[in-house]
Amino acid sequence: MAMLTVIGIGNRLRGDDALGPLVIDELKLMNGSDLELVDVGSDALSILEHLSDKKKVVIIDACKMGREPGSVVSFSPEEADVVLDHDPLSLHGLGLAEALRMAGSLQMLPEDLKIIGIEPESIQFNSQLSRTAQQAMKMIIEEVHRELQNSKRNLKILL
């Protein structure tokens, strides 16, 4: 079983929103068996299928955090007040915030869940990844590897 599950969320057609899936692509190129890599595209609700029975999960998503574009922030759900953004007229408002809340209520959250948020510069349709997001990609990948090292260290302590 993989030590760490990494889930990328985002729409590849929408500028910096593509970062979640693109990080998954990059990690696939360098992956050993330690990581389970999941690209859920923009169907955030699908993360529920990948959370249960997992010890440690990292979710990568573009987040509106009020920081400088390109900022990368790693946080746990308890450290942040995610704003529910449910458009009550359609299912398309069901985003990561709603999926996390649902997972919490159904007691499906893994023991250790980290969200790596990237503040996007642009999420316009049909736009390219911004320079700041390209730089952020490296930071995110380093962060994922740091999380992986942490899990390995914790496993050693347990053993």
């Binding site: 969320i9 985002g10 729409n11 590849r12 057609l13 929408r14 929103d17 690209d39 859920v40 595209g41 923009s42 169907d43 955030a44 609700l45 699908s46 529920l48 299928e49 998503d61 573009a62 987040c63 509106k64 955090m65 009020g66 946080f75 450290e79 942040a80 007040d81 995610v82 704003v83 953004d85 449910h86 458009d87 009550p88 007229l89 359609s90 299912l91 398309h92 408002g93 069901l94 985003g95 990561l96 915030a97 809340r101 649902m102 209520s105 159904l106 969200i115 948020g117 996007p120 999420i123 349709f125 049909n126």
Partner: protein, 434 residues
């Protein structure tokens, strides 16, 4: 009743593209009742122009996280029509299996997460998690099964990768298909039957409202049409898919950045209810029994019953998927390569029934296999005029209710259509706790 009423349901989310309900009545006379759409301008044509036939389906599948498979399949059949690519029986069967998975997933999500909270008057799915966790878990289990059908057949459930013009780059293994069949029968079917019981219990809360309209869907001579067929209007009969522009007749209205559509009447309805009305006799027997159990009868003129038609289709998709898997295995899985040698270049028009209704793509290719012109007409756009017409009939009928009750009835009406107002990004908004 002489009354002033002013309803504005605004959704000022950051998510681009949203709908606002606007109703205005003065001295008992209805001045306005419509769904106003604020959506970014058409990006489809610009996005597709210059793309090669290998890229078209990949791009369209990413327009939307929920409708990805529908756009992808319609894109493939459109490209195949334009380039004269023949496809095998096995490809058709695998695609039909994909359509069933996508329809099952979408219909179940809508019924449980959007409509059930309405019927129970609890506002959203979240209170249901506390009161009915087993029901929410059942919905998630069914969503997962549907997703796994997509995963096995297309390589990746959300943004499928193996379906390409001319066929599939990978054919699923027999064992994988048998495992899906086992789960369809052992998990999917019992969950589907439980869903009927749940919806039966909720059916009393479905508003009694009727407005006969024109119902448009695909129709196929041999089966309940989802993947292929001709256009069928409940008013005028069959129309070839190539003549779709005669049906959609898009026109601009002031209150919507999304165009409206009309054919034989002022408006028409697409989606599960239209498919039910036009093709109900072709559903698998168990699905017809489910319809009867939940009180859905042909012809049904109540748009709120769309949800019930979706559940009926879910049962059909579960059982028909088993039939398709049996057929694939009986035929023997062949490791075919996709046929990607164009026999012509030019215009192609494709149509499928996606969960929300009939979808059209229309591409013109140059002789290098690159797109020079593209058009796409989505189901929700075709339903907008019909939603407005429903509202205009509904408001006077429920005018003695309180403003809050009227607002809820109107929101439920819009939700019953399962609108895909925006195929958009869902960005997490975070306030850090200092």
């Amino acid at each position: 009743m002489s009354r002033d009423l002013n309803i504005k349901v605004h959704h000022l989310t950051r998510v681009e593209g949203h709908g606002n309900i606007v109703v205005n009545m003065k001295d008992g006379i209805l001045e306005t009742a419509h769904l106003s759409i604020v959506e970014p301008p058409r990006f489809f044509e610009a996005m597709m122009k210059g793309r090669s036939f290998h890229e078209a389906a990949i791009i369209t599948s990413r327009i939307c996280g929920i409708c990805s498979l529908g756009h992808q399949l319609t894109s493939l059949v459109t490209t195949e029509a334009a380039l004269g690519l023949e496809i095998s029986e096995q490809t058709v069967l695998l695609r039909k299996l994909l359509v069933h998975g996508a329809t099952l997933q979408s219909n179940i999500l809508h019924a449980y997460f959007l409509a059930a909270p309405d019927f129970l008057k609890v506002g959203s799915v979240f209170p249901l998690i506390a009161t009915h966790p087993d029901v929410v878990l059942r919905a998630l289990r069914m969503k997962r099964l549907a997703n796994d059908i997509g995963d096995i057949v297309s390589g990746r459930a959300v943004h499928p990768i193996t379906p390409v013009p001319g066929g599939f780059t990978r054919i699923p293994e027999k064992a994988e298909l048998l495992e899906i069949k086992r789960r369809l029968l052992e998990e999917g079917l019992p969950d589907g039957l439980e869903t009927i019981e749940t919806m039966k219990a909720l059916a009393g809360a479905i508003p009694q409202f009727e407005r006969e309209t024109e119902y448009i869907s695909l129709k196929h001579k041999d089966e309940y049409a989802l993947y292929e067929g001709d256009i069928f209007s409940s008013d005028t009969g069959l129309i070839p898919v190539e003549n779709y522009l005669d049906v959609t007749n898009e026109f601009v209205v002031n209150h919507s950045t999304s165009k409206h559509a009309k054919y034989n009447r002022n408006s028409y309805l697409v989606g599960a209810l239209a498919r039910w009305n036009n093709n109900h006799s072709q559903l698998i027997e168990e699905a017809q029994a489910a319809a009867e159990a939940m009180g859905l009868k042909p012809m049904c003129f109540n748009p709120y019953m769309n949800t019930i038609a979706q559940v009926v289709e879910a049962v059909h998709c579960i059982l028909d998927s088993v039939r398709i898997i049996d057929k694939l295995i009986e035929n023997g899985l062949k490791n075919e390569k996709p046929n990607q040698t164009p026999t012509r270049y030019g215009r192609g028009i494709g149509s499928n029934e996606v969960p929300r209704g009939i979808l059209f793509h229309d591409y013109t290719y140059d002789n290098k296999g690159n797109i020079i012109k593209a058009n796409c007409i989505i189901p929700t756009g075709q339903n907008l005029a019909n939603i407005d017409d429903d509202m205009q009939k509904l408001v006077p009928e429920i005018i003695t209710k309180s403003k809050e009750e009227i607002t809820l009835d109107l929101e439920m009406l819009v939700r019953a259509y399962d609108p895909c107002i925006s195929c958009s990004v869902h960005m997490l908004e975070v306030d850090f706790i200092e």
